[in-house]
């Protein structure tokens, strides 16, 4: 029975404060993306499509919606007998009650959970990135190279490199050095925060790290450098394709706009690698008499009688006659009344833009978040 050879653990504790009001009531991984999805649908669907059948989701901040969202594991087909998505918030133990102190500590506090499945490998993921990746290919590479750890990397420009954790590798892509945000980067291979570890090895490393008083209990700062120091076989695995950290209102907007580009490599239309999400019982979309829709993405349940240009509309959005939505992202159940103009902004869910209101600025540098009725 090799069903659960590799267990997935998704770090979904991000507070996402730079996403402003979008994260006052929900954790960042539950923020909406792409007309239909939430951010965490991407790593979860990647797991399902890669055959990673047991996934722990480590949540922390304002997670009631996130917890109940991911708990419905049939959304990702992960409801077979030995499959499942398990929500893992910090919890009371006989030695007291702790927060997750760092990315590594979050795993350490759940060693008992992982041990239940005695996996050979553990896949560590972040819950707030948009990308499609076949982790089974990464695992195959991990095995082929007899690696102790494999880290997915993205080739970035050398200019950008100083914003990332950079892997310096030899000509077989074995990592000999890790530098966090180097001023003078020696390589352009940025860590994507996606790791495969052999579980036995990681387990020992985590327990050792727990004893270190000065440790930040973080993968990038402590675990990876520690493994490099002790001569472990760490390899970089080069990822090609779309990847984005949607950590700010600007990058969230941009990433939505990227979907409108025919040539974007994320390709959410690809039926062979579906992104699964909540199944909402909404009717089809109704594009009515006075509507004009150009270069846009619209989801089921929308009722459109106005003009939509270059925009992304989520479930059940209503745009009345004469209203114009341009370069905008409109989240579920919001309504744009007659004659309103909405541009270059993100409208949060359940918002009403009143008749003839003008929202957003076509010439602004930053993207506005509209989180209150206007």
């Amino acid at each position: 029975m090799r069903q659960n050879q590799m267990l997935g653990m998704i770090l979904a504790g991000g507070r996402g404060t730079r996403l402003e009001e979008l994260t006052t009531k929900v954790a960042k991984p539950a923020v909406f993306f792409g007309g239909k999805y939430r951010i965490i649908d991407f790593p979860l669907s990647n797991c399902a499509n890669s055959g990673v059948n047991v996934v722990g989701v480590l949540t922390q901040y304002e997670s009631v919606l996130l917890n109940s969202y991911v708990a419905q594991d049939q959304r990702w087909g992960l409801d077979a007998k030995d499959s499942g998505i398990y929500v893992l918030p910090p919890r009371e133990k006989s030695d007291g009650f702790g927060m997750y102190r760092g990315t590594a500590d979050a795993i350490t506090q759940n060693i008992d959970f992982i041990d239940q499945y005695s996996p050979e490998y553990v896949l560590i993921l972040s819950g707030d990135h948009i990308y499609k990746m076949d982790y089974s290919q990464m695992l195959a590479e991990h095995k082929a190279k007899k690696a102790d750890a494999t880290i997915a990397v993205l080739e970035v420009s050398l200019k950008e490199a100083s914003r990332f954790g950079i892997m310096n590798v030899d000509n077989e892509d074995r990592i000999y050095e890790f530098e966090e945000k180097p001023k003078q980067p020696k390589s352009n291979l940025a860590s994507m925060g996606i790791y495969i570890f052999s579980w036995k090895l990681l387990r020992r490393a985590l327990l050792d790290d727990l004893k270190e008083k000065d440790s930040a209990h973080d993968f990038g700062k402590n675990i990876i450098p520690g493994m490099l120091e002790s001569g472990k076989r760490l390899f970089a695995w080069r990822f090609k394709g779309y990847w984005k950290d949607v950590g700010t209102i600007d990058s969230l907007w941009e990433s939505n706009m990227d979907l409108l580009d025919e040539s974007n490599t994320l390709d959410i239309m690809d039926p062979s690698w579906k992104i699964y999400t909540e199944d909402v019982a909404a009717p089809p979309q109704f594009i009515q008499e006075h509507a004009s829709v150009k270069r846009s993405i619209i989801n089921q349940g929308c009722v459109i009688d106005g003009t939509i240009i270059n925009s992304v509309l989520f479930t059940n959005v209503v745009v009345e006659e004469g209203a114009v939505v341009k370069d905008a992202v409109i989240m579920p159940n919001s309504i744009i009344r007659k004659g309103a103009i909405v541009q270059r902004c993100i409208v949060a869910e359940d918002i009403e833009i009143r008749e003839n209101a003008v929202v957003g600025d076509a010439h602004s540098e930053l993207i506005e978040l509209v989180a209150k009725n206007r």
Binding site: P283, K294, S296, N299
Partner: protein, 371 residues
Amino acid sequence: MNQVLGIINFEDATVDVTGLVNYRPIPSLTFMGRYRLIDFVMSNFTNSGISNVQVYVKNKPRSVYEHVGTGRHYNINSKQGKLRIMHGEEPIQSEIYNTDINAFHSNIQFIEEAKAKYVIIAPSYMIYTIDFSTVLASHKVNKADITIVYKPTDMAKESFIGCTSLSLDKEKRVIASEINLGKNKSRNISLEAYVMSRELFLELIGLAHKTSSVYWLKDIIRDNYDRFVVKGFMVRGLVYPINNLGEYQRANLELTNYANAKQLFDPMWPIMTRTSDSPPTHYGEDAVVVGSSISNGCKIEGTVINSVIGRGVVIKPGAVVINSILLPGVIVGEDSHLEYVIVDKNSKVLEVKELKGEFRQPIYVKRRDRI
């Protein structure tokens, strides 16, 4: 409502959606681009609190099994396992014996074993929304033996042809019925949804079975208007019978108008279906879309007017689709012009540049065709 057994009945020969039914039985017909007909009656049942349901299928049960599955997407508790799909497992000598009564009779053990006090029987080809708990309440208040749901219509000359038309007295007791042949404008049309006690239902099955081996449930009820108190329950909202290709066309096209559609799609009474996990629909730079209902997963670069576009349809630049119904997975190539056409699943209209049908007489393009 756990005192009720819901029965989804199959239709008789008056229902024939020519073309489409060559590939699947009536309950599996695609409707509004993303639903199957059976979604409406299933949602009516489960929204009314009925979670003990038997689905009778006349033939070709595979698509029904695959769509209905465990009924989880209709909110049926899978563990208690109360959704059953019933179909004949023995060869039938002649199609005339393939009646609902014979189907009930050969599965009678499952009806006898159900603990429900009442049964509500309804077909899948009538599209409307109804709270069956109010029908049951009325049935009890009226002390009726049988309650028949009906719809008064002024369109009986064009629509509901072949359906049963009821004559009611002042107390809404059904005193007679006849087939609607389109002679009169105003008729009270039976929606073939019945409420009765399970006991009476079993009695009627036995009676019908003894009377004639080609009898249908509606026949034995008709024979007994005198003997039993048969009451009518009127519905006011939109009702579409999907009993021929013209009606299929009319229902789909009328519902492209949201003013009509919102009567059927009430957020408090969701019509549930099996999700296909389609992405949202992409509209291109030069798309022109008006007066249409569009499903998810489409890529629309051409012109779509007053049409129903199914899941995953591709409309290439320059293509024009008017008053047409495209089932899921259809591709319409560049510069093809379709008017009053119904294109079945996964077909490609690439070479033919013009196809023009008429209202109530659409052109039908068969499944997986390439023209």
